[in-house]
């Protein structure tokens, strides 16, 4: 049996090797042959889901809502203590030191990530900035967004917190954080297609990663040192309800 495992494209670049290590270890532990899919963009992710029989998805929370409610997936696990947060940053010496300093007509650079944009917009509501008030500069990567900011081509930039923290020390020294979200209850989730009947060995292998040194090493590579915890159907539904409140 071969199954397809898709990883949402918004992980930090240095985690790439970790996902391949995870795939190798899960195959060994579960006895299932797993084909790893790592789309480079949300668009490519959608194409893969439409075109292939994707059995398991490590999904970002907003995509997970659609996948659970409309595409026949169920949430089975999530990384423990690793919620999805975002950072709004400005150039270090720009004079923009707080969200209040961002005004109507400002330019914000960001990679194409719907979740980060949505959470960022919710944070900007507090200073009366709406999506239409902002000039958006969509970059290929978060690193490109940081370069835009440092060159003075944007007033602020949005980042996934994990990616922001992984930027080089030199890059970080030229930026300052205006705000970081602390939503806690929202995280990536592991989804299994309802029609994938023999998912138990896979799920067991995933949930027991912390039990072996080999598994611990993979979790470290993924920045998920606490491992995965099981999710009930209600846990998934609760997160979807929560995200529903953030849509507008």
């Amino acid at each position: 049996m071969t199954i397809n495992l898709l990883i949402a494209p918004d992980f930090a670049p240095e985690r790439f090797a970790g996902w391949h290590m995870l795939n190798t270890l899960l195959q060994k532990k579960s006895g299932i042959h797993i084909h790893l899919l790592t789309p480079a963009s949300a668009h490519e992710q959608n194409d893969l889901i439409q075109a292939q029989n994707v059995d398991i998805i490590y999904a970002n929370p907003f995509d997970a809502a659609t996948m659970i409610r409309e595409q026949g997936y169920r949430a089975v696990a999530r990384p423990l203590g690793k919620s999805d947060e975002m950072v709004i940053a400005a150039k270090a010496d720009s004079g923009i030191v707080a969200l209040d300093d961002l005004k109507v007509g400002c330019t914000i650079a960001m990679a194409d990530n719907r979740d980060v944009k949505l959470i960022g917009l919710r944070l900007l509501e507090a200073v009366d900035l709406l999506e239409a008030d902002i000039t958006w500069k969509v970059t290929e990567t978060y690193q490109a967004a940081a370069r835009n900011l440092i060159k003075g081509e944007a007033d602020a930039a949005f980042f996934l917190s994990e990616v922001y923290d992984s930027l080089s020390r030199l890059t970080l020294s030229q930026m300052q954080v205006l705000i970081e979200s602390d939503l806690s209850d929202i995280s990536h989730v592991l989804l299994v297609k309802e029609s994938f009947a023999d998912s138990e060995p896979f799920i067991d292998a995933l949930l027991s990663l912390k039990d072996t040194a080999e598994g611990e090493q993979v979790l470290q590579e993924l920045g998920m040192s606490d491992g995965f915890e099981p999710m009930t159907q209600e846990d998934g539904e609760f997160m979807i309800d929560l995200m529903d409140t953030l849509l507008d």
């Binding site: 944070l123 602390d182 539904e237 409140t245």
Partner: protein, 164 residues
């Protein structure tokens, strides 16, 4: 509909004004308010869930922290434990009618803390629909802007005058 009688609030040590609140379930209690506004915690969401009777079943850490109550005091209490006397009844009537109709509700709300302080939120409430049935409601609050708070204060003042 299950009703839970909340005890009267303890009078805070600082200057506080006493009010008797009458709730829609026919119960009432004395609450105290002060002029102390607590800042909304930056970057956070304040999350709670209630059952169909409006009894709190879940409160996240941000909710517990700002309320001044312990989690044990909140779980099992009616959600109107947060009701500030400067909130018009019509706002909550609209909230309940909207979510009971299966729809999402948004609004600016002034909430009351255990010590009489208050904090403003932009609240969104949604019904928890499971297998086609509503089993409870989730409320998620975000930080409101000062300009929206000022608008809401003016509107609610007018609504309270009309309510009186």
């Amino acid at each position: 509909m299950k009703s839970v009688q909340l005890p009267d609030m303890d009078q805070p040590a600082s200057d506080a004004t006493a009010h008797r609140l009458n709730y829609s379930d026919g119960l009432s209690r004395v609450v105290y308010t002060t002029e102390n506004e607590l800042p909304y915690p930056d970057g956070k969401l304040i999350v709670s869930r209630v059952d169909l009777d409006g009894i709190i079943t879940h409160a996240n850490d941000a909710f517990v922290d700002i309320s001044g109550y312990s989690r044990d005091e909140l779980i099992g209490a009616p959600h109107h434990i947060l009701r500030h006397p400067q909130m018009p009844k019509a706002a909550f009537k609209d909230l309940w009618q909207t979510v009971e109709a299966g729809k999402k509700w948004h609004g600016y709300v002034k909430n009351l803390c255990k010590d009489g302080s208050y904090y403003w939120v932009y609240a969104t409430a949604v019904p928890n629909i499971r297998h086609g049935e509503t089993v409870g409601y989730t409320s998620v609050r975000r930080k409101p802007s000062r300009s929206k708070i000022a608008q809401a204060e003016a509107l609610y003042r007018k609504m309270l005058e009309e309510q009186a």
